[in-house]
Symmetry: C2
Subunit: 204 residues, 2 copies
């Protein structure tokens, strides 16, 4: 049996997330009150806390969906990378960055990032760290692929390089979401400029 209880549970999860996503978008994270989310999802305040440990975890569920989509989109690039190191990196990181504001506003990103460092052991804190690691692994996979194909030098420390590239992009992205007026195009240009140093060092 699919179980009445299990079905109701999934349904309530969905209603809470949908209500929260809408309110976060309309009123911002701080502006969206748990009371309002509860009303909109037609559950009580207590029920929300039965499903999520705290307000941040609700945002976390939304962020996780977004990042997982990005990871999926990245798979194609790793499997079939452009024919030189510079373009390969630019394409993969470009996917990450261009996707980033589809569902999440800069304010939501700021909150999500803040919560993940503030409460690294909360469910979302751990999930976020895991997502960062997955992104790092994907970049590492791309580098390994490029080394395999013979586009990148084999004597380079691939894992360390992958982490370096991810860390740099991530910090640039953090600065990007901190400034509302910052544009995606400028972010990509700046990252490309930094990566050029690395590309020169590792391209065969």
């Amino acid at each position: 049996m699919s179980g009445l209880r299990a079905r109701q549970k999934a349904d309530r999860h969905r209603r809470i997330i949908e209500a929260a996503a809408e309110l976060f978008r309309e009123a911002g994270y701080e502006g969206a009150k748990i009371e309002t989310i509860a009303a909109q999802a037609e559950v009580s305040i207590g029920t929300i806390y039965n499903y999520y440990e705290n307000k941040g975890d609700i945002l976390g569920a939304i962020v996780s969906m977004e990042v997982n989509e990005v990871l999926n989109a990245g798979r194609g690039v790793v499997a079939n990378p452009p024919a030189n190191v510079g373009d390969a990196l630019d394409t993969l990181l470009g996917i990450y960055i261009e996707h980033s504001l589809h569902y999440l506003s800069k304010e939501m990103w700021r909150q999500a990032m803040a919560i993940s460092t503030q409460l690294p052991d909360s469910p979302f804190g751990q999930a976020y760290t895991g997502l960062d690691r997955s992104l790092t692994e994907q970049i590492r996979a791309l580098i390994a692929r490029l080394q395999e194909i013979g586009l990148a030098r084999r004597d380079i420390d691939g894992p360390a390089l992958g982490e370096l590239i991810f860390n740099n992009m991530n910090m640039m992205f953090i600065e990007f979401v901190k400034r509302d007026e910052a544009r995606i195009a400028e972010l990509r240009t700046a990252i490309r400029r930094q990566n050029r140093i690395l590309v020169a060092a590792i391209a065969v």
Copy 2:
């Protein structure tokens, strides 16, 4: 006249910061109540909010003092760098990292970082961004110095490289403060490993 009002103001600032620093250390950031800080500083709650916009700004004042000390310590290295690129970078970043936990616990760092991304336009948010920029500039200055002396290639994009090195260190530091069990020695080793790639690319 030095002004009674001005003197009282400076005195109250000092008392608030001292009380807060002590309580943050003893009870942690979340554990330190504004009410208690006010009592210990012998001012009212309202007065604290007259001096600082919010609880985060109090922590911010403490963090700023710490980072400024680090910047000062770094000046010596820039003025008189070790005789090869790898050691020069390692020495400067080593100063940053080794100093970092002198006055501030990991929990305080987590809070400070979280606040700076959560409220980038608050007084502390802006100050923190400024501090990051100063650290980046110091690394850039070191690279420029190494290029001058002839230890680093002149055809490298120094500013971009400086930002890359800072961003990577900073992100590694963020992950470090997120895990209570992480050790400074491991952090330095990991950063050294990553920088090795860069050092190989830029040393003459």
